[in-house]
């Protein structure tokens, strides 16, 4: 009698288990089919963000201040460089040379704004480097301008601070680590392919950083500031990795 009940119990359990398995399988298949995967779950996002902070640290360790990005011959420069922003090219900010002022703030001694003429009077260098987008495409371009390091020294920035932040005329914002800001190839690029930067490429200047992904190279820069508080960035605040070094 007892045995029989146990047997029945076992069978019911077995059927339930099979049903459960079948449901789990079809749930899995359903989630695959609808593309509604676990990525949007808050806990998963927390784990991914944690790993992204970890990767910031790993990349800061890997970053070598003396290591230069590879450079290329003039012949490999792409002149019709890909336009990239979150708005169409004809909506790019049109800044007037006479009105433009570069504002400075944060841990900087001399915060007087800079006119474009004053900026153009600074020493300039050229580089032919590969611009790599986080989406995977890459293009070789030629940029000319003033090393950011030289500019930061000139205005008396606290070079022992942790971050250099940028605010842009189009509402974009971003920030980089101080070692990258002081890297010899990090320049305030006033020219592309030997011509004054056209509005769609970031007139009057973009910060060209060949040791970082493309979105870490802000265009239409209107303010530079130095800080010890992590300033984040437009795409970084949407889940992209902050350091994003190459």
């Amino acid at each position: 009698m007892t045995t029989r009940i146990l047997e029945r119990g076992d069978r019911i359990f077995g059927i339930e288990r099979r049903l459960f398995l079948r449901q789990a399988l079809s749930l899995g298949a359903l989630s695959l089919l609808t593309g509604c995967d676990i990525s949007d779950d808050d806990e998963v996002q927390n784990i991914l963000n944690f790993m992204s902070r970890w990767n910031d640290k790993a990349q800061a360790l890997l970053f070598n201040r003396e290591r230069l990005a590879p450079t290329y011959p003039e012949s490999s420069v792409v002149r019709d460089f890909r336009y990239n922003a979150f708005f169409p090219a004809d909506q790019a900010p049109q800044l007037a040379a006479g009105d433009y002022r570069l504002e400075l703030s944060g841990l900087i001694e001399d915060k007087r704004p800079w006119t474009l003429d004053a900026l153009y009077a600074l020493p300039q260098e050229s580089q032919i480097t590969r611009h790599i987008c986080v989406e995977g495409w890459s293009m070789i371009g030629k940029w000319s301008g003033t090393p950011l390091r030289l500019f930061l020294q000139r205005v008396g920035a606290d070079l022992s601070a942790r971050y250099v932040g940028f605010r842009c005329a189009d509402g974009y914002y971003g920030s980089i680590d101080m070692p990258t800001a002081l890297h010899p190839q990090t320049i305030m690029a006033f020219k592309f392919a030997d011509d004054i930067l056209p509005p769609k490429y970031g007139y009057p200047f973009k910060v060209r950083i060949p040791t970082k992904l493309g979105f870490k190279n802000p265009k239409w820069v209107s303010t530079i500031y130095v800080t010890n508080r992590m300033p984040g960035g437009f795409w970084e605040d949407r889940g992209y990795n902050w350091f994003s070094g190459s």
Binding site: G35, C36, I47, F63, R130, R238
Partner: protein
């Protein structure tokens, strides 16, 4: 693996039948399954990342449903971007899991003698014979016995994973690891290598899973540690048939 030379309980059997068996130590099982999980994460998120700038001519794209990175519209609503950030998040988290579990798996496999005992030797003649037997569907799959095609396959997939890690590093860090990127023929070529390596691993996975379905006890062994099945009788020349 070593044979579990257990006596058959059937007294009626005139010849003692050895049982085929397979044992996998705990560390091998853990690193196998963690590597498997990491590889699925890397493939799923890699397909989503690939879709943003396809390597293949003609712009072939992977169906979003088979990629990892979240639903496009949900992602747009929650994070203000359509899922590339999550896919990259998965990829750069998964790479640590893959590198760690794969490194431990390989070091343990080499140190414990598992690779030498089970994945070697690979004689060209045996490889050819087993390959054509496999094509004709006449290759036996016995628990704990690795045929030459199988041995070559395991070396092949481990090589492919190594190439994936190295080409991945040269795409991730084309400045810091520029010598490595140069070895792969530059940034753009490294991306193609990274794609081809993925295709090779997916190809391996298909065969690996199909054969596991055909010999399900291998799944038992790699999961709970051991499995066995009745062996074949030994022929007069000692060859197992």
């Amino acid at each position: 693996m070593t044979m579990l030379a257990k006596e058959s309980p059937k007294a009626s059997n005139p010849v003692a039948t050895p049982r085929d068996g397979q044992r996998h130590p705990l560390l091998r099982r853990i690193t196998h399954w963690l590597s498997a999980l990491a590889i699925l994460i890397m493939i799923g998120s890699g397909w989503r990342i690939y879709n943003y700038y396809p390597v293949l001519p003609g712009g072939f794209q992977f169906p979003p449903a088979y990629t990892l990175g979240g639903d496009y519209t949900t992602s747009e609503a929650l994070h203000n971007e359509d899922g590339l950030a999550s896919a990259l998040g998965w990829h750069f988290a998964g790479m640590w899991l893959l590198a760690l579990s794969f490194a431990i798996y390989v070091i343990y496999g080499l140190a414990s003698g598992h690779f030498r005992r089970d994945f070697l030797p690979i004689r060209p003649s045996a490889l050819l014979r087993d390959f054509f037997d496999a094509l004709r569907g006449r290759l036996e799959h016995r628990l704990g016995h690795y045929n030459t095609v199988q041995k070559a396959f395991y070396w092949g997939v481990m090589f492919a994973i190594l190439i994936m890690i190295l080409s991945g590093l040269s795409i991730w860090k084309p400045v810091q690891f520029q010598e490595l990127t140069w070895l792969f023929g530059g940034y753009e070529v490294a991306r193609v290598v990274h794609f081809v390596g993925m295709a090779a691993i997916v190809g391996f996975l298909v065969v690996h899973v199909v054969l596991t379905i055909l010999v399900p006890k291998t799944f038992v062994a790699i999961t709970i540690g051991r499995a066995s099945s009745p062996g074949r009788q030994r022929r007069a020349d000692g060859e197992l048939r």
